[in-house]
Each structure stands twice: as C-alpha cells, then as structure tokens.
Symmetry: C2
Subunit: 322 residues, 2 copies
Amino acid sequence: MLQFTEIEAAAARLKGIAHRTPVLSSRTLDALLGATVLMKAENLQRMGAFKFRGGFNSVAVLSEAERARGVVAFSSGNHAQAVALAARLHGCRATIVMPHDAPALKLAATRGYGAEVVVYDRYREDRAEIARRLTAERGAALIPPFDHLPVMAGQGTAALELIEDTGPLDALIVCAGGGGFLSGCAVAARHLLPGIEVFGAEPERGNDMQLSLARGEIVTIEVPRTICDGQQTQAVGRQPFEVIKTQVKDILTVPDPVVVEAMRFAFERMKQVLEPSGACALAALMHHRERFAGRRVGVTLSGGNIGIARFVALMNGDEAVD
Amino acid sequence: MLQFTEIEAAAARLKGIAHRTPVLSSRTLDALLGATVLMKAENLQRMGAFKFRGGFNSVAVLSEAERARGVVAFSSGNHAQAVALAARLHGCRATIVMPHDAPALKLAATRGYGAEVVVYDRYREDRAEIARRLTAERGAALIPPFDHLPVMAGQGTAALELIEDTGPLDALIVCAGGGGFLSGCAVAARHLLPGIEVFGAEPERGNDMQLSLARGEIVTIEVPRTICDGQQTQAVGRQPFEVIKTQVKDILTVPDPVVVEAMRFAFERMKQVLEPSGACALAALMHHRERFAGRRVGVTLSGGNIGIARFVALMNGDEAVD
C-alpha cells in the first residue's frame, strides 16, 4: 500500500528537475460553476504531462547497477516519453516498445529523448511479452505505467504541490486511467487534508473504475472507444486499486462531448492547450457541477500533448467516437 | 516623457488586481535558438492581454468626480475590453465605440464587462469624432489606446515584473503597435537594467515604427495588411515615440508566416494559446535568432484572445494576407 512518506521522498527526488507547475484559476469558470476552482497545470510539466513525475521517480529509485542495464517501458502515449526523458536525465539507456502504427509525432518525440524504440504489430504481437523478452535479454528494469509504487508516488507529488500552494480544499478531482495518478494524489491529499473528498474522472465509455469501485473488485472491460486516449485502459492496476477503494469518494464519468467543451473552454478562456484526457477532470467538474457548488475544488489539468491537426478535428467534431 | 516613478505608481495601483503573470521558459526553444528565453505570459492576464494594465491604471488615476462621469474609448480590440473591465472594477460607466462589423464575440465580450457599446460605420463615420462628441456630451474622460501616459505607465509594469522575476537580461523584445507597451516596457527595463537592449517587434507589412525610428520622425502608413490585428496602427503615438527614439535599440520586423509558426510552437510545445500580435515578439526572436545567440532574452507573450475558428483558419493558411 502506498505511503505518504514515499510521496515525500519522490518530491525530494523531483525537486529542481520536474517543474513546480502553476495553479491556474479563472473568474469566468468560478462564476459559471458557482465554485472556487484551483487547477494544477500539469500540461506545463516537462514533456507535457504529469507522467514525467512517475517516470523520473521510477528511474531514480533504481540502484546504479540496475540503471547501468537500462530501462524498458511499453506505451504509445505519455508514459513512453516520460521514461525516455527520465532515462536520458539519468544517463541511462531506455527501450520503449510502441505499436508500429503509433503517430509519427510520438515515435519521433520518444526517439528525440534518446530512447531506442522497438515497434511491434499490435494485431499480431503481445507487447507485454516483447517487453519481458527485452528485460530478460538485457537485464533491464521494466517501468510499468501505473501498477508500480514508484510511479504512484511520483504522480502523487502533483497533489502535494497543489495543496501546498492552495491551502485547504473541500474536494479534488483527478483524471483516472490505470489509477496511478489518482491513487498517488489520493494518498497525498488525504494525508494533508484528512477531510478532503477525492474523486476520479473517467470517460463514460470507459467506466471500468466506476464498475470496480461499485463491485469492490477489479472489473476488466473492452478497450474503450473514447477520444480520451490517455484513459483507454481496460482495468485499474492492482496496487492503485488498493488505495482507490478506501481513499476515493467516487468516480465521476464524462461523455466525450463534454471533454471537447472543456478543451474549448481551456483554449478560449484560459489560453491553455489540453489533450482530451488532460481535460477530463475539468470536464467532470463541469458535468457534475451541482455536487461541487459553493465548494473549493482542486482539479488536475493533466496533459497538453496534442497536435494542432487532431485538436482541430476534435473541435470540428470530425473525431467523435460514435 | 514617461518616468519610471509613474510605472512604480501604476504597479502599486495594479497590485492584487492585475494578475502577476508567470514567466515561462521552454528547454526546446532555448535549444532551438541557442539562447535563454524568458517569456512574460500576458496571455494569462485578466481579459487575456497586457492591455488590462494600462486600461486599469488610466481609470485609477482619474478623480472620483471624473470617474462619476464615466469613461469613453474607441477600439475594436483588446483595449475595448480592458477599459470596459477597468471601469466595471471602479464601479463607473464605460462607453466603447466599436465598428459595426466588429466580430460578434468581441462586441459580446465588451458588453459582457458591462460597457455600453456604440457602433459606427467604419466606412462612413469618423470614430474619433464620435468619441469626442460622446466625451463632450457626457463629460466623460477619453482613454486613448496608447498615446497616453497612464496607459504607457500601466503597460510598463509587465517589464517591471518580468525583470523582478528573472534578474538580469541582455535584451527584451516587446511587440509594438502604437508604442504604448513598448515605451512603457523600455522605461521600466532600462531603469532597472541600464545596459539592456530593448527591441520592438512589428509585422513586416506594417513597419511604420521601423521607418519612424530610421527617419527620426513619425511616419504614417496605410492600414497594414497583416494577420497581426493588434498592430494595424498607421503611426506610433507621439508620447511613446519620445521614449522609443532614445530608449529602443531597434525594431525587428516579422513576416506573417513566421508569426503563424510562433503560434504553432506556443501551442504544440508550450501549450499556450497566443493571438497573432501576442506571438509577434516570439516570432521576431525566431526570425532574428542570430542577433540573440548566447544571450539571455526577455520576450512578451502579449495576448491570447483568439477564437478557435480563427486559430484554425490561420493554422490552415486560410487567412494568409496575400
């Protein structure tokens, strides 16, 4: 079970390396929702998402001998870039297993951080099997994207910083995929503010965490059809779920069109670029505003890695998932 | 001639009312340009641009009796919203003279701040004449957009804050239209750092300030055809020019496509939304990078008021000015 002391230790490792991202607020949003909203701008984090925190912490906790053998991760998203950058900053080798049809921009960005990219055919090959083979062959350490204590502890530093900067909050809404970010933030927030209510936010079409929390056991779903590509996980991780089932008040689900509206609001009124999953917690607050009226609410803006072409397609409704 | 003490007085008036906007940096940008770039994010200022500083200061310096008679401004852009919001915060009446074909969004935003909007036909009527009539009829105070010491002093507080936060800079690049922002920032910067080189940035198609500085007298040009709608001034203001001709090192001009590239970079790498004029100083740095290699350079990101539709059109090249 994740302990607060591990989050504090992660914060010490990240100090001066991760950005202490700003807390944003919007008078227009507060008036719209009738609440005081304090947003942790992790879209301004290094490599554009909170994932850097967990990736860096995971490489930092390895021994020098382990780091000398390199690290391996499988991801088509922000975790890939997080581990690649974390490895480069530690002067160690990273191998990232990505699907052969991953966007060229993401392949290039991951290579740009100095990682070796191993591509696989997502319809014919098992990426976990490939990663296991690579770790066995090379003796490299596998850095899982969420079901891993050093990742959870690293991600939790975002909530630690937020609360240090804002003071008391009544509620905190964190976007949820595999649960690494949500569990880390829940432990940090409830240690600092025992009375705080922590909520996860997930796309309506991919509500596995809501189902898992309701049943008290991990529910696995089909790969969800949602624009929130950072949250297309099929099941919450085992270690995150241990935290979530006791520390999280509820899971808020959000339809994709509300996520698009939150992205639009962030662009036009806050001048911030958010990727769909990065806007999910804000969208959850907008969609469930009656639960938060009159309250002081922390929200994570978790990432901003979206190219202009996809942003435009989403705003035009061209990429709506039917 | 604008004095530094007036900027300090403006800073005291704005304290707790204007946002102390963050200073952004980008490792990618620094690597690309071979310089250390520190960006003052005035796109995150209230009403989305630095103009709030000068508008608020101009209303604040009026006597109570003057404010009771209200204020008038003519503007189709950010100055309109700045004066409207400043008046509302002072509990006084604002009348804004805007062209009848101004974007509906801007008309609505100005009305949204509680101002009365008087529309005129820009092809048949003289807006300055209309504003003069309104000020005469109502005894209201006219707040000019740039050729006005309280506006210049207010805008200069952006450079004051930047340098307080960054420490020494070798150069500062400020976007330039009528010269209110540039002159205010030049006085602040050169008072705090006498050795600093201050540059103005203007669109290549609207280089009146470059011509004026070269000839030592104010040159008037046709309304420039540029995407930088915040800089379509025909001539620098008289009082700003008094400062600029002694305190500004040079004017850097920028082709429109480079402005689009700077907006794209800000979106994709910095997750920031900038309007064209808001990206002009960054574009100038990119376009004239060889002059700034190895130096520590301050840059203003002056505004972010752009709707998604126009942003998309600019990215697609649909709104290129031939």
